[in-house]
């Protein structure tokens, strides 16, 4: 990938990128095998086209995925899970009755991304591959225990969502690979998952975002399993494993949840930027872990009320 040294003061017009529009997954993977190093994959374009317009990237080719119908699948699996094709839009997720009813945390995360026009074109796969640490879906997907399916010509592999992010905007996807689908497991009995976002203005990215998923033991009080995803809390989306350890196997009392929230605030590593300081983000991680837990626990009884 050619990097442009002086993004805002270049003298020469950047060479146009050639556009390739494969209509099947096999064709897309063949094009990636051929051009992967110098090409960029164009999903919904709501992040990449900003970078291109600013001259921050100058790919030789754009491989547009709009023509590949199989990447737009959104369907329940036979065991009650969910398969989301990489090109399913945020608008489709937020308005899908299936997602709203069975995976409300994912619908909630999709519904708070940017603005309606961005959600019409922006895709779940594109959001994950952009690997912005303040994106909303990663926290919800970590709490849901989701995997991503990554294909290359001749094979594919699966990765838990929390392992997809190597560093700031650096997904663990090689140049000849394509994220093709997101697989969400079926909700366990006595489980609930929520995603809450904290931001100052409606269209902002998350100052912090918390996904919280809990499964109760048969006694209805002990935490059998828990998954906590954080965004806005480091250089990547992350899973708060120390906070989870505070809860797993313990009764889900207010005191215990408060201790887990403190653990999450301690183990994360937020950045300071113009939006918020590291200190403030940690404080908000603590508050929003508690709040997301409350919403998730309310959902265990079957209700979707937030």
């Amino acid at each position: 990938m050619a990097e442009v040294d002086d993004a805002f003061g270049f003298d020469e017009p950047i060479q146009p990128a050639a556009y390739l529009g494969p209509t099947s997954l096999d064709d897309a993977l063949a094009l990636l095998a051929e051009h992967g190093d110098e090409a960029k994959v164009l999903a919904g374009g709501q992040s990449l086209l900003v970078f291109l317009r600013q001259g921050l990237l100058a790919p030789s080719h754009l491989i547009g995925l709009r023509g590949i119908a199989e990447l737009r699948r959104l369907e329940a699996t036979p065991d009650g899970g969910l398969t989301v094709g990489a090109m399913v839009t945020q608008h489709t997720l937020e308005t899908s009755p299936l997602v709203q009813a069975r995976f409300p945390a994912l619908a909630d995360a999709a519904a708070v991304i940017a603005s309606p026009p961005v959600r019409r074109q922006g895709t779940l796969g594109g959001n994950l591959c952009h690997a912005d640490p303040t994106g909303d879906p990663p926290a919800a997907l970590i709490a849901l225990g989701a995997d991503v399916e990554i294909a290359r010509a001749g094979g594919s592999r699966r990765l838990p969502v929390e392992d997809l992010f190597r560093d700031y905007m650096d997904p663990a996807i090689e140049a000849d690979e394509l994220l093709v689908a997101i697989h969400v497991p079926p909700p366990a009995p006595r489980s609930g998952v929520a995603y809450l976002k904290y931001r100052l203005r409606g269209v902002d990215t998350a100052l912090v975002g918390v996904g919280f998923g809990a499964t109760l033991a048969e006694d209805g009080a002990t935490c059998a399993d828990v998954r906590i995803g954080l965004v806005g809390a480091g250089t990547t989306p992350l899973r708060a494993t120390e906070a989870e350890a505070v809860l797993r196997g313990a009764p889900l009392t207010d005191e215990r949840l408060a201790a887990a929230a403190r653990a999450a605030a301690h183990e994360c590593a937020p950045l300071s930027d113009t939006e918020a300081s590291e200190w403030y983000r940690r404080e908000m991680v603590e508050v929003f872990v508690r709040r997301a837990a409350q919403v998730a626990l309310r959902r265990i009884d079957g209700g979707n009320a937030a």
Binding site: P16, Y19, L42, Q46, V50, R53, G64, A114, P116, R120
Partner: protein, 153 residues
Amino acid sequence: MNQRMKLTVNGKDRRVTARPDAYLIDVLRDDLALTGTKYACGMGECGACTVLLDGEPVFSCLTLAIETQGRAITTIEGLTRDGVQDPLQQAFADRGGVQCGFCTPGMILSARALLDEQPHPTEAEVRRALSGNLCRCTGYAKIVESVLTAAEE
């Protein structure tokens, strides 16, 4: 390495020759002289460049022209038919929903998409549908009122 494209804009087929990575907003404004669509932030923050793609509001500054081939593009110019304005355009004029006017085309197209899906929205639904369109004159009250007025008619 310019490329020939056929776009369907406001019901008419238009042929243009442009860079393969040309943005829709640039083709609309520079090649087709449809300057009702406004360019402001160029990064999907402000909504001034909103157009409809198969009836859906999208940012033309975050859309490649080449990917809109075969889809119906509607710009603000397309809302006036045979000299008769869309009820939304009339309502914005009547109710003072226009101040400097720069956000107005995007506002009206986002509102058009809303009313096509939801002819009688609540105020909250109007505000949510317009959340991607910023007004730098900060006159949102009249804008929301204009949309609700058009919805009543």
